[in-house]
């Protein structure tokens, strides 16, 4: 590989950071979900890069399981979101504060 592994990992860190900032800054629950997907994908990129660095498939398998968990998370999260929208008529996370003490 001619591109150093560090370049892939720095890119992965940048994508993870973008996802984190998205979670902190945005209020629409849908965009929060997408930012979380961004973070999961950044971690997947790190897994795949390190699998290549070590010549060991375990990293790719970890990325596979992250993919499965992300799919389940999106399905359950989005159906909860639709439910919240049905009862509260909003998906703004600042408005959904029923559990606030």
């Amino acid at each position: 590989m001619t591109v150093p592994a560090g370049a892939y990992l720095v890119l992965s860190a940048a994508l993870f950071t973008l996802g984190t900032v998205g979670v902190l800054v945005r209020r629409t629950a849908l965009v929060l979900f997408m930012s979380i997907e961004l973070m999961l994908n950044a971690v997947n990129l790190a897994f795949v890069t390190l699998a290549r660095v070590h010549g060991n498939l375990d990293g790719q398998l970890a990325a596979f399981f992250v993919l499965v968990v992300a799919a389940v998370e999106v399905v359950v999260g989005l159906s909860i979101l639709v439910h919240i929208f049905r009862t509260r008529d909003t998906v703004d996370v600042d408005e959904v504060d029923l559990l606030r003490g």
Binding site: V21, V31, N41, V53, L61
Partner: protein, 172 residues
């Protein structure tokens, strides 16, 4: 060639990531996410992870983003972009903190052992990953299938009409 592919994919994924965070319309965020996922699939190919690259396109781009778009159409037909967000102060803190996080992660990640220069033929192919999946990782694989079933059941329960949900779950 690999350098060119990496540069193009890196620029595309960073631009897409910025789009996810900064786009005003959720639809634009979803389409930016699609760009990120496609660029990452290309990167997986350059990293000898063919199977994951295909999976990335099928599962993420094909299923998850479509699900996002579907829910956006369901919810946001009636709620266009709400009033300007009052998180300006929060963003002013979040961006420097994010930069600090990036610098910290990058500095941790740069002290790496030298990579294995060549991987054997068929590394990351469907056959190699499948053999690992049904050998070493058989138990996690079965647990993952159980998790998927739980997700399906949860989606069916949550997606059923509110009246039937009330009858089963709550006082009238």
């Amino acid at each position: 060639m690999e350098v060119l592919l990496f540069a193009v994919s890196a620029v595309l994924s960073l631009a897409g990531g910025l789009g996810v965070v900064a786009a005003r319309q959720p639809v634009h965020s979803a389409l930016s996410l699609l760009v990120v996922l496609g660029a990452l699939a290309i990167l997986y190919l350059t990293l000898a992870a063919e199977f994951l690259a295909v999976l990335q396109v099928i599962v993420y781009a094909g299923a998850i983003v479509v699900l996002f778009l579907f829910v956006i159409m369901l919810l946001h037909a009636r709620t266009p972009e709400s009033r300007p967000s009052p998180v300006g102060a929060q963003a002013a803190v979040a961006v420097p903190l994010g930069l600090a996080l990036w610098v910290g992660l990058s500095s941790a990640v740069l002290q790496l052992p030298a990579p294995v220069p060549r991987v054997p033929d068929g590394f990351g192919s469907t056959e190699a990953v499948g053999r690992e999946l049904f050998g070493t990782f058989l138990l996690p694989f079965e647990v993952a299938s159980l998790l998927l079933v739980v997700g399906i059941v949860a989606a069916v329960v949550l997606g059923s009409s509110p009246s039937s949900y009330d009858r089963r779950g709550r006082e009238p």
